[in-house]
Amino acid sequence: MTQPNLSVDIAGITLRNPVMTASGTFGYGSEFAPYLDLEKIGAIITKGLSLKPKAGNPTPRIVETPGGMLNAIGLQNVGIDTFIGEKVPYLRKISTPVIVNLYGNSLEEYGELAGRLDGIAEVAGIEVNISCPNVKQGGIVFGTDPKAAFEVVDLVRRNTGKPMIVKLSPNVTDVVVMAKSCVDAGADALSLINTLTGMAIDLKSRRPILANITGGLSGPAIKPVALRMVWQVARAVTVPVIGIGGIMTAVDALEFILAGATAVQIGTANFLDPSAAETIAAGIETYLVENGIADIRELIGALKTDR
């Protein structure tokens, strides 16, 4: 059999295979270069970027939980200026598309940031993280209110010509409502899920383990929730969906693809195995070969739900 096609298109970005790395779990890519071949993965999504450098939360920032982990990094990042000065030159050296995950603490910050990134050729696209509190509006999270989400996405849309992925929060009653709102506002693709809000307590000290009290749950534990949401959203929208949440193996990734994901992102798995993204991409290829599937696109949304 000839080589199967693994390439997919997300919002106009061509990926050599559907395996991307999730924001905040892969640094700016260079950290992982000693462990895998960055040219063998579909895309790199960089750590959440903001306009100004952000200190992030005090420590402890991470804690292991059953089958998962909580993080409350607090979106620490270098800010757009340092990003342009120090990170972009490295990204120029790799041919794999680099997608910049961004966030703001106000509507205006989102808009301005998107505008500044629009001019940078090395940025193949942007992923808008809307799981952030709107500091100006009493801290309500953009991504949990369809109207607030619409406003953010709409503003970003007007400030960028780049392919725009919107990353959805799972901490909502109806993820489909949120998804539709973002698509209506101009999202070219949706990625989900971000982390579930959780908490861990230390009995001895009688304190929350995380300095921030609550944090975001990721890892295998959340996979069933992520799979369900991806399935719900993929059936409800026409833009491509990117599946994220607890993907550890090629089998996990293929399950998300069956559920309707055009691509997947690998997050926590990078910590357990820094070559995970490459291994998973290779595993998908092997699966296609062994099952005589000529094109990965045959599997997207191919889940059979009749009985």
């Binding site: 905040g24 779990t25 892969f26 640094g27 950290e31 992982f32 000693p34 462990y35 750590k47 450098p53 952000k54 200190a55 992030g56 420590t59 402890p60 920032r61 991470i62 804690v63 292991e64 059953p66 089958g67 998962g68 982990m69 993080n71 990094i73 620490q76 890892g219 295998p220 550890m248 926590t268 990078n270 910590f271 357990l272 195995d273 820094p274 070559s275």
Partner: protein
Amino acid sequence: MQFKSMVLSNVEVSPSYFRMRMTAPPTIGVSCPGQFVMVKVNPAIDPLLRRPFGVFDLGTFETEFTDCGRQTYLEILYKVVGKGTAMLSTLHQGDHLDILGPLGKGFTLGDPAGEKLLVGGGVGLAPLYYLAKELVKESRVHLFAGGRNKEDILCITEFDRLGVETYVATDDGTLGAQGLVTEVLEQHLSRAGANATIYACGPTPMLKAVAFLADKYGIACQVSLEGYMACGVGACLGCVVQGKDHSEATPDYRCVCKDGPVFDQTDLLWS
């Protein structure tokens, strides 16, 4: 690097302290003592994250099982404190582990002429053994080992054998002097040369006290820190500590995993 390793031995050297020797590829490059490895205790998701351990020793031994007749090994010295270390302690010769490392920036050996003062609290001794092995080649080395009781004082004979002069202090006086190891250290510092260097690893309160003494006596001091880690390679920003210039407005966070675990004590904010 990331490699599959086989347990060669796993011995309880003191109640709840274990010393594990495992295979390593000959190409394993430990650039300096003080680096660490991240160990995936088992391939299951419980425990999920890798566990960080300092490199206690590294070497080769003769064997008929490799073509070249030698096998590289790595040793860690660990204390059973929770789920991951408890599982580690049940492993036997022949069991397999997945190792990431050596990682991070270790100790700077510095001017051989200066006296080398190693300070270890409990299992904080772990990275100091490999350090001592390197230092004794050219320098005079002292070890100050502290713990709650004699069972926390590990592998002293091994240091002795290297020719290191050892001083012991325990809270309950069951071994060495009764009191804090920093008290014993201070006695020594008062007559140490200005070109001496302190190398410390142990619980944070001990490190703070050591850093304070280093300032007081104007002696160079490198400390090896711990931090809760997920990635070990500087990507997740889970393990950070505040650098000396840190403030909310101008954040100066350093990754223990990548910028450390060893820092010059003057580079850190000791709040």
